[in-house]
Symmetry: C2
Subunit: 345 residues, 2 copies
Amino acid sequence: MGPERREREEKVLLAHGSGGKAMHSFIREMLAPLMSIEDFNDSAPIPFMEDSGAPAERLVFTTDSYVVSPLFFPGGDIGSLSVNGTINDLSMAGASALCLSLGLIIEEGFPVDSLLRILGSVKEAAEAAGVRIVTGDTKVVERGKGDGLFINTSGVGAVRKGLALSPRNVVPGDAVILSGTIGNHGVAVMAERNGFTFDPPVLSDTAALNGLVDAMLSHTGDIHAMRDPTRGGLATTLKEIAVESGTCIEIDETEIPVSGSVRGACELLGLDPLHVANEGVLVAFVDESVAKSLLERMKEDPLGRDSAVIGRVKERPEGTVVLKTAIGGRRIVDMLHGEQLPRIC
Amino acid sequence: MGPERREREEKVLLAHGSGGKAMHSFIREMLAPLMSIEDFNDSAPIPFMEDSGAPAERLVFTTDSYVVSPLFFPGGDIGSLSVNGTINDLSMAGASALCLSLGLIIEEGFPVDSLLRILGSVKEAAEAAGVRIVTGDTKVVERGKGDGLFINTSGVGAVRKGLALSPRNVVPGDAVILSGTIGNHGVAVMAERNGFTFDPPVLSDTAALNGLVDAMLSHTGDIHAMRDPTRGGLATTLKEIAVESGTCIEIDETEIPVSGSVRGACELLGLDPLHVANEGVLVAFVDESVAKSLLERMKEDPLGRDSAVIGRVKERPEGTVVLKTAIGGRRIVDMLHGEQLPRIC
């Protein structure tokens, strides 16, 4: 095996994105096993008619590009993140993910073994969530014109009949339920980036929430809105919903689950856990009457075992988030400002 | 206005991708006018039920990332390219594009005026094609970790009832129709990249083919397959179809429309027009009996006025493309090898 052949196998080449022979064999060898596709047309059927028997009432569409740095971090990598993140965007609309697309932008010279590891992670995450990747695309840019790998995943989902989750449905009196501890993803990535390790290690919470959401929606029709607090953290998500619903969201600091490791790491890194990105938790706004039973149901799910009612929706001051602090004070919580955590997802 | 404020307005900052306040105002000011969306949820309804009255028989899904360099070239830019390219992928499946997503990966420091020009171009292309952009995402990477702007567009389309275009339907006897002159996009980009100008200038052919395809499908039910010869050019597309259909595609060099400027530019740049990317032409495989009337119909469309029957499908040798040359010889045409034209789309 000559050196040229070896280079071809170990590093991604510009030719892999050029549309010709090298790309064909690259796709066939590396991507095909990931996808439930039989041929390489540029588009793929959306399997909703066959699967559900009857058309869904509403389909939804979402897209996200992932530029997380570093590509590998405790608890996950850009591959699992890009599958779970897009499934979660669909889940937050009350939609079952039907299929995903996968678009790769690879920097020339990127190690093929890293790519294979990431694609393995894509496959594993998609299988774990029961969602198919049906179409894909690969581009390669020259050395220095990218940063290893960027991934775009887009997704199509089917919304349950009659369901219309929206921040606009949030009303005073609603209970605010958080499905798990916050800050894990952002801290895991920042720690990896800065060369810190914690004992016990802080792992990204990256996970597909579609199973948990299915369980929640099957349990009650009284969920008004859901969202996953990713970039910008819980604070930013709550502020968005307060503004969109014209309400005040009052949360209780002592009720918000944060692990000891994350709390310590945030102090070390100068971060507020409320602003740190999450990739496997959701916040739900639900009619107060169902809060208790829904919470119990959520705790039965592995991804919901740390669920907690963290607050209530009030009327005023409209468009604000108020935090009742552990020492009995109150402070206004705002969105993340500036560039605290670039490239966290 | 202080220098900090000016920097914010003229250059994209990392903060624009961080999920916080800067991103919110950035999206609201710059992206919202593009999109037919009322609020900024992470997913958007696919408007197929409302529009068509009845569900389509089949929905299709496609994705493409665009990394073209330079971002602006004669006849288009990355914005129009990314809209037209994805609409065309849907059209080639016989699908009407229902909606698109738009994912931006911006390099820190990218000039805001360039971004606005490109987003204007996105909007114009989407409006010209009558397709809505319903969901989007913005990420920003540090200086030196990207190359100005990469765009992913994904799209959902509805296939006409009973229609199933596929290379597998191509059979010996089929006529091969090309909808326009080849090589324009690739030559326009390569010329811009190398600082060449031609008189008359060679313009990219970037265009949405959905109108032309609608006209073709309304004219006849005897179209077997269609594809747009993008990366890798006409040669690569024909080779793919020959392999997938197990036929021999015989084309006649003298029938393939190539403009004089493109021919001259290809000689100068050392390119074979058969391998140069196109972004606004299609090749259709049709029953011989309808070729003549379909060709006439195609010529009525502005994007099809240079349409020509360029060849026939034969039985053998299977999986090959044979070119009858202008001087009466025959040569085997293969896919593009290697990295002849990186980052052409």
